[in-house]
């Protein structure tokens, strides 16, 4: 492990990272977001999912610095009386869980499919890629909406609330695997022609071993690059679904649901219900995208000339 | 005596993130009207960069850091990017290495030929096409009218390179710089193309700078030759004398390593031990010294200048006496 660590430390990767202030800032920001999410139960003023904490009488209270505000609710309360700050923290947590979960699922399916398609080739490749193409051209948001709606219809709202998070992970995960599959496949096909694969074959290593032990690590850079984009997308998808009422249920709102709730009140002046979660969400997705952009610039050899 | 093209102490550097790299370190040569010069060396020696430098086509972060490029007496290295366009493609044309990559795949041959003429002459499309057809015939392309409407990928490699040669002839330039013109082609086509180049330059109206690593090709076509190593010219002279009587240890090694050249069948091909240094790590003194078999103490500390031994013959080596 030691030589790998040292190689990393001396690598161009780390050098470039330290030089780029934006990358460093985004990375730190992401770590902070993650910390907030993980430590939510301890740092949040109250637990917004616990209905005991919610008092409808304290709904629509503006932020603390406003003349009608209440210092107990730093950023005000939403239409149901939940503390904005707490809900935002827990909402972030939900978004992260779903985002990472969905991407983990997508990646697993996609990588497997891509590896197989790319390495085995032939008919298997055609079928898998056709499948990916069909799915690719169909907007998964619609499918996600449908599946969510059908689920609610069939199983009822109560059951839905319990299973919301895993369900969303499944939906978003299944929806986007073609992205990983394509990238992986392209990478595999690129690597397949290289000599080290030939060498491995001659030695007599079985195909799956070659695929996993040798080809996969070389494709990691492209996979890493799209992962950041996919996490950002997953978070945004969950927000979109929640906004439409088909994501997180009202009892456990995510950032998207908050924005939705706030939308109805924006005309009557309770802007904070939408604005704060909005800014929070955008910040989070923004730093992910910034880091992703930087990763892409660094890991993409073609752009070294810039 | 004033030459058509005279390069004096040309230096080209690349400004990279971790420092500056010298790709060409003081190169000088001349070309007279109708003369054919060969610039020879391994990959990375700086020959292509020299070719690009003449028409100021060095891609960033490279730049000409010193030296003069006199064309018809004027220093074109000082020309603005607008002014250099009157030289590029007009008075000095260039042929690149790989004809497939050089032609734009989405435009027809005709378009790519006509635009070259229109860029340099006030001419109608019809007249431009006439000239294009004339040049296509000159390079022995069959059915030239049909070719004008075709796309690059519809043609064979040899034909594409001929077309590129035809494009370079469109403006009746004074000099053609050919950068590895046959490297990307099949061996049989190589010979055809070289024959064609030779024929075209025979009249004495057009000069040729042939940049290549292929000594065989160079000895067929050129009159004088300059051998480059690690960014410098280390030997120059008439092609005959350099090829048949190489003086610099590197040139000697080169000649002896060509199959079918000086070495007879049955004899061993000689190798030059080691590799040409990376431009970031050029040794002190003579840049060839780590691989040289006849070196002495002085070679490790002092850089040998390119000395003229006798009429037209120069060598950069401490160990060769004039």
């Amino acid at each position: 492990m030691k030589p790998t660590l040292r190689k990393f430390k001396e690598s161009y990767f780390l050098y470039s990272f330290k030089r780029d202030k934006v990358a460093m800032a985004s990375f730190i920001a992401i770590i902070m977001f993650l910390l907030i999410a993980v430590l939510a139960p301890w740092i949040s003023p109250m637990n917004p999912y616990d209905s005991n904490n919610i008092n409808i009488m304290s709904s629509e209270i503006p932020p603390a610095w406003n003349e009608f505000g209440d210092p107990e609710f730093l950023l005000g309360t939403d239409n149901q009386g939940r503390d904005m700050l707490s809900t935002m923290i827990y909402g972030l947590r939900t978004s992260i869980v779903i985002g990472i979960g969905a991407v983990a699922l997508q990646a697993t399916i996609g990588i497997l499919m891509g590896l197989t398609a790319g390495y085995v080739g032939g008919k298997v490749d055609s079928i898998l890629m056709r499948l990916a193409d069909i799915q690719f051209s169909f907007p998964y948001l619609m499918v996600a909406i449908l599946i969510s709606a059908i689920f609610q219809l069939v199983f009822g709202v109560g059951k839905y609330e319990e299973l919301a998070i895993p369900l969303l992970i499944l939906i978003i995960g299944f929806a986007e695997w073609p992205m990983y599959a394509r990238t992986m496949r392209a990478s595999v096909i690129g690597e397949k022609g290289k000599e080290y694969v030939e060498a491995a074959k001659i030695i007599g290593l079985p195909k799956p071993v070659i695929m996993v032990r040798h080809v996969l690590p070389n494709s990691l850079t492209s996979l890493l690059v799209i992962s950041t984009i996919q996490v950002a997308n997953a978070v945004m998808s969950e927000a979109a679904l929640s906004f439409l009422g088909l994501g997180m249920p009202i009892s456990r709102p995510s950032l998207g649901s908050l924005i939705r709730a706030g939308f109805d009140y924006i005309f009557s002046g309770s802007w904070w219900i939408t604005v704060f979660p909005g800014i929070w969400l955008v910040l989070f997705v923004l730093v992910i995208n910034l880091l992703g952009d930087w990763l892409r610039d660094v890991l993409n050899p073609k752009l070294y000339k810039g | 005596m004033s030459h058509l093209l005279e390069v004096q102490d040309l230096e080209v550097k690349f400004a990279l993130r971790f420092g500056e790299l010298t790709a060409i370190d003081g190169v000088s040569f001349t070309l007279d009207k109708g003369e054919k010069l060969g610039i020879v060396g391994e990959s990375g020696a700086g020959k292509s960069v020299t070719g690009f430098a003449i028409i100021k086509l060095i891609s960033k972060p490279g730049y000409i850091s010193a030296g003069r490029i006199l064309f018809n007496g004027e220093d074109i290295s000082l020309y603005s990017s607008t002014k250099i366009r009157s030289v590029r493609g007009d008075r000095i044309s260039m042929i690149f290495q790989d004809p497939m990559m050089t032609l734009n795949p989405v435009f027809t041959i005709g378009t790519q030929m006509v635009e070259t003429l229109k860029a340099h002459r006030d001419i109608t499309k019809k007249d431009a096409e006439k000239i294009a057809l004339e040049k296509l015939r000159k390079v022995y392309i069959s059915s030239p009218e049909a070719r004008l409407k075709q796309y690059p990928h519809e043609l064979s490699g040899g034909m594409r390179q001929r077309i590129i040669i035809a494009i370079s002839l469109l403006t009746d330039p004074a000099v053609i710089i050919a950068d590895e013109p046959t490297t990307a082609l099949d061996v049989t086509i190589q010979a055809e193309i070289m024959d064609l180049l030779q024929e075209l330059c025979q009249s004495g109206e057009m000069g040729l700078i042939l940049i290549t690593h292929d000594l065989g090709v160079v000895s067929q076509v050129t009159e004088k030759i300059a051998v480059m190593y690690a960014g410098k010219i280390i030997e120059s002279g008439s092609t005959d004398s350099v090829v048949n009587n190489p003086l610099h240890p590197y040139t000697k090694g080169l000649i002896k390593s060509i199959p079918g050249g000086v070495v007879k069948p049955g004899q061993r091909l000689e190798q030059i031990p080691g590799m040409m240094p990376n431009l970031t790590a050029i040794p002190d003194g003579c840049s060839f010294n780590p691989r040289c078999l006849i070196k002495d103490k002085i070679c490790e500390t002092e850089e040998p200048p390119l000395r003229e031994l006798n009429e037209g013959r120069s060598v950069a080596c401490h160990m060769i006496q004039g």
């Binding site: 069909i134 051209s137 169909f138 907007p139 948001l141 619609m142 909406i145 449908l146 709606a149 059908i150 219809l153 069939v154 950002a232 945004m236 927000a239 979109a240 906004f243 439409l244 009422g245 088909l246 998207g256 924005i259 924006i266 005309f267 802007w271 939408t274 909005g278 955008v282 997705v285 923004l286 992910i288 995208n289 073609k302 752009l303 000339k305 810039g306 | 028409i55 891609s59 250099i84 366009r85 009157s86 590029r88 493609g89 007009d90 044309s93 690149f96 790989d98 990559m101 050089t102 734009n104 795949p105 989405v106 435009f107 635009e115 070259t116 860029a119 796309y151 990928h153 519809e154 494009i167």
Partner: protein, 327 residues
């Protein structure tokens, strides 16, 4: 070339059949098809009789074939909510979405082309950096949030533009089908915010794609050769580089249509825009299965057609594809 078109068309049909199959299977298994027709208070025997009569107990494949046959004739069932044929409902809602998409599309093209080219040609320019930074921000803001922000800024605070609905519409063909908002000043005013909202997600994407493609193209040998030939910079950039850049961008454009549709759902919700997206959500919320299914089939058809057309157009423009018919 002809073979190419035929092959693509065939693939398109296959894809549509698959999607129709999925839609049909869903429809069969979810919800109760009898209910919309007869209401709640009907005895089980009567239901059974009706089911038999409608052929609901026939084997799956038979029903599916019947479905396809009807679909080809334009009959995709009756909408529960509207109590009208689904095709009619969809057709009445389609123009609204169409106008929205066209509006957004125009905005995207008009802005992203020049910006993409500029940021590729002068990447270190302060304006380029600003545009790129802005575009990263743009993809980080979900479309519904942009929409809400626009409404808040332009309607609530500034009061310049209306915040919902389509405004005054004109009956284009005098048959009640195409209510167009394009021909009235009021209608156009109502179109501005929604189009810009929808465009806001697509623009950053396109700017980036155009920029990255163009930057790659600018590094190619043939561009270097164009410089060697002494051509004018404008020609090299706007003719040589540009055409090569456009080609891959066109294919991406085809793929993006799908995403655009998804985003119309969100945009129409925020703006109460009575288009297909809005209708879709209504159908979801009120469990109008027939309408949902019809919508899916229609959307799938649109995509497949658009993608096929894009492929064919690409094949026409890109000379290297024409001869062989394959990519």
């Amino acid at each position: 070339m002809f073979a190419f078109i035929v092959r693509r068309a065939f693939q398109a049909v296959m894809v549509m059949l698959v999607i129709a199959l999925i839609g049909f299977a869903v429809q069969k298994n979810v919800g109760d098809p009898i209910r919309p027709l007869v209401g709640e208070r009907v005895s089980p025997e009567e239901r059974e009789a009706l089911a038999e009569e409608l052929g609901l107990n026939d084997p799956f494949l038979v029903q599916y074939t019947r479905f396809i046959k009807k679909a080809v004739h334009g009959d995709l069932g009756i909408s529960f909510i509207y109590q009208k044929p689904t095709t009619e409902v969809i057709l009445k809602h389609a123009p609204a979405t169409l106008e929205l998409v066209i509006g957004a599309g125009l905005i995207v093209i008009v802005f992203s082309l020049p910006l993409g080219v500029f940021t590729a040609l002068k990447p270190k320019n302060w304006f380029s950096k600003f545009v790129m930074g802005f575009s990263t921000l743009g993809v980080s803001i979900p479309v519904f949030l942009t929409a809400i922000m626009f409404i808040y800024l332009f309607s609530v605070i500034l009061g310049w533009l209306p915040s919902y609905g389509r405004g005054e519409t004109v009956d284009l063909f005098n048959n009640g089908y195409w209510q167009s908002g394009l021909f009235t000043a009021d209608g156009l005013k109502h179109l501005i915010l929604p189009s810009f909202s929808l465009a806001s997600i697509m623009m950053p994407l396109f700017i980036r794609i155009i920029r990255s493609e163009m930057m790659e193209v600018l590094e190619t040998e043939y561009i270097k050769y164009a410089w060697a030939k002494g051509l004018a910079p404008m020609r090299i950039w706007l003719v040589h580089a540009f055409k090569n850049t456009l080609l891959p961008v066109i294919t991406v454009f085809g793929l993006q249509i799908g995403i655009m549709f998804a985003f119309t759902i969100l945009t129409e919700t925020v703006f109460q825009w009575q288009g297909m997206g809005f209708m879709f959500l209504e159908a979801v919320q009120r469990a109008d299965i027939a309408l949902l299914n019809a919508y899916l089939v229609v959307v799938a058809t649109v995509f497949v057609i658009v993608n096929t057309v894009v492929d064919i157009v690409y094949g026409l423009i890109n000379p290297t594809v024409r001869i062989t018919g394959t990519k």
